[in-house]
Assembly symmetry: C2
């Protein structure tokens, strides 16, 4: 088992991680346990967890629907109501067993119930393992705006069981892989090279958690350098929003990959990377991921969504852009024209 | 103007406090302002505030209904919706202009909007000045349980304008005075003596803020010694809840005064104070406050509410009790019988 120290808590990674959960539960005298799952993790992960950690057999199980729509005030109320009906007190523990939706929602509801009860994260998707379960951000969506209500709240511990990755579909595995490619591109040339060679999942998760952890520890309240993590996300978010509204259902990672291709092109337009580097990024991403067809996408819709996201009416945008492979510059001014060129480039690329 | 340093922020007290607000607004480049008021402060305090601090003329005004029922998820949603419709961003400021309901609700909604925007408190009731606006607790009521959803979040500053006290009815002034008598009894014999002599309101507010501040700074997350502040509240809360449900509308301070009389009697039963001290407490409180008639109160209802409040089914209760005038012991075990005796004592007392 590998242990990574984060902001006041530890992240445990390995096949024998259930032992660490048991010893965590033994050390902390909680008055009661609650486990938050979605429909998938209830079926695929909960039975394994409970049989490996018998203390959790007494836990109250709270089930939410799969998907982003569960990150709502309605589901938050449902969780608080369940806490109350089952007499959860300040010494109760919430176990978030699931992907980013579960840890975002669970972390938020725990962090404000009685002004904060303890919670731990057991991420079950690659995206949650590598990204969402580290960083101390919780949140729900409100009025159509993602994560607009939330807290900075650290879990008491994060337990990563790599074998949970086997419960994922190929598409959801790729969804998480996208963030790992991103974090390599903005911060770790060596990991980028390793990714090209192929890595086993456990090593992959260890490396990306260690990397993200290094960045968030420098900027726990998201005031500056954590912005490098936004590479691929300015355009990625807008594209995700288009398809979210249109119910095409592009996954977050799928949109981020598209965003990374486009934003690499912008970096090249701004002479921040060489043509050769752009070609490398594009060919590696193309080889590992599906680049979805966006021909039907109206470029004005994308620009509008970006303006909305940044709450600006101007045609100047600020991006985090790679300035070589493994390095990223934040707050780079980008014009409307440069964005449009990048959209065109993408469309030409996928033919 | 008097300045008291608290947990990362300052409390300014005095007739010239509007100057301090103006200089605070000048120093901090906020992108937009919002002011949360209730029906009373909208009428009585907002015009004075805006004419004294012209920068706030552009503020979005959010009005809530008077009273505890506004501390709800529904009103929280209303505030977040208003923030969004008016494009509040991470650099927006919320000004809480009102009593404890306004600062509890406003502090909570600000502390989770976009994971926390700045807020300042301008308390307008004596209770809020002396008690609620210091301590870093925010919260709303949920499922009938007071402050069950909330955060620990510090305001950026607290500005106390004593002349706002003149907008209060006598009854609401007394309501705040109750907490000042309490804090004197548990922590400051000298203040207790001063109260018997009579103090002007501004000095009163200064002294009680300084005293509460001293206690909360030692225990910011409410884990231990802050419990001395609960004197009078174990029975007080239960009595408040009875009358809240019956819609008699006993104010918080009115219930706490009754609680203090009863709990002083329990302290005497447990030989923690002398008969002479009990008599002094009772005669001082009786002289300064109305002791409401509780003959119709079922003692079993009170016991049930106390069990419910503490989430216990047992007949052992744990109180914070004075052990002399100006000192308090927390976590004192009290039996059902002792509680019943105290209720009887109170009923005999008021005849």
């Amino acid at each position: 088992m590998v242990t990574i120290k984060s902001n006041g808590y530890s992240i445990f990674i390995g096949e024998d991680v259930f032992k660490a959960i048991t010893s965590f539960l033994d050390k902390n005298a909680y008055s009661s346990y609650f486990i938050l799952c979605d429909e998938n993790t209830l079926q695929c992960c909960l039975p394994v967890l409970i049989s490996s950690c018998p203390k959790l057999a007494s836990a109250g199980i709270i089930e939410i629907e799969n998907g982003e729509t569960s990150k709502s005030l309605e589901f938050s109320s449902h969780i608080w109501q369940t806490f109350m009906e089952n007499k959860a007190d300040k010494r109760s523990l919430l176990v978030n067993l699931g992907g980013g939706v579960v840890s975002d929602l669970g972390g938020f509801t725990a962090s404000v119930y009685k002004r904060g009860i303890d919670f731990i994260n057991i991420p079950t998707s690659l995206l949650a393992m590598a990204d969402a379960s580290v960083g101390g951000k919780t949140g729900i969506d409100f009025n159509g705006v993602k994560n607009s209500i939330g807290t900075f709240a650290q879990p008491k511990a994060v337990f990563v069981q790599p074998s949970f990755l086997m419960t994922l579909t190929e598409r959801h595995f790729q969804n998480g892989l996208a963030e790992i490619y991103k974090i390599a591109l903005v911060n770790d040339k060596k990991l980028w090279e390793d990714l090209k060679e192929g890595l086993n999942a456990e090593i992959l998760v260890q490396k990306s958690i260690a990397l993200k952890n290094k960045i968030v520890l420098k900027d726990p309240f998201d005031k500056g350098i954590r912005n490098v993590l936004n590479f691929g996300h300015t355009l990625g978010h807008a594209i995700e929003a288009v398809f979210f509204e249109n119910k095409y259902g592009l996954l977050h990672g799928e949109a981020v990959i598209i965003g990374m291709v486009m934003e690499s092109h912008i970096a090249w337009q701004k002479k921040m990377i060489l043509k050769k580097e752009l070609m490398e990024v594009v060919s590696v991403l193309r080889e590992s991921f599906i680049l979805y067809d966006l021909h039907k996408l109206e470029s004005e819709t994308v620009l509008d969504l970006m303006r909305n996201d940044k709450k600006t009416s101007s045609d100047k945008f600020y991006f985090s852009l790679i300035n070589k492979l493994g390095s990223c510059k934040t707050n780079v001014e980008v014009s409307r024209k440069q964005v449009l060129k990048a959209l065109d480039y993408y469309n030409t690329l996928i033919g």
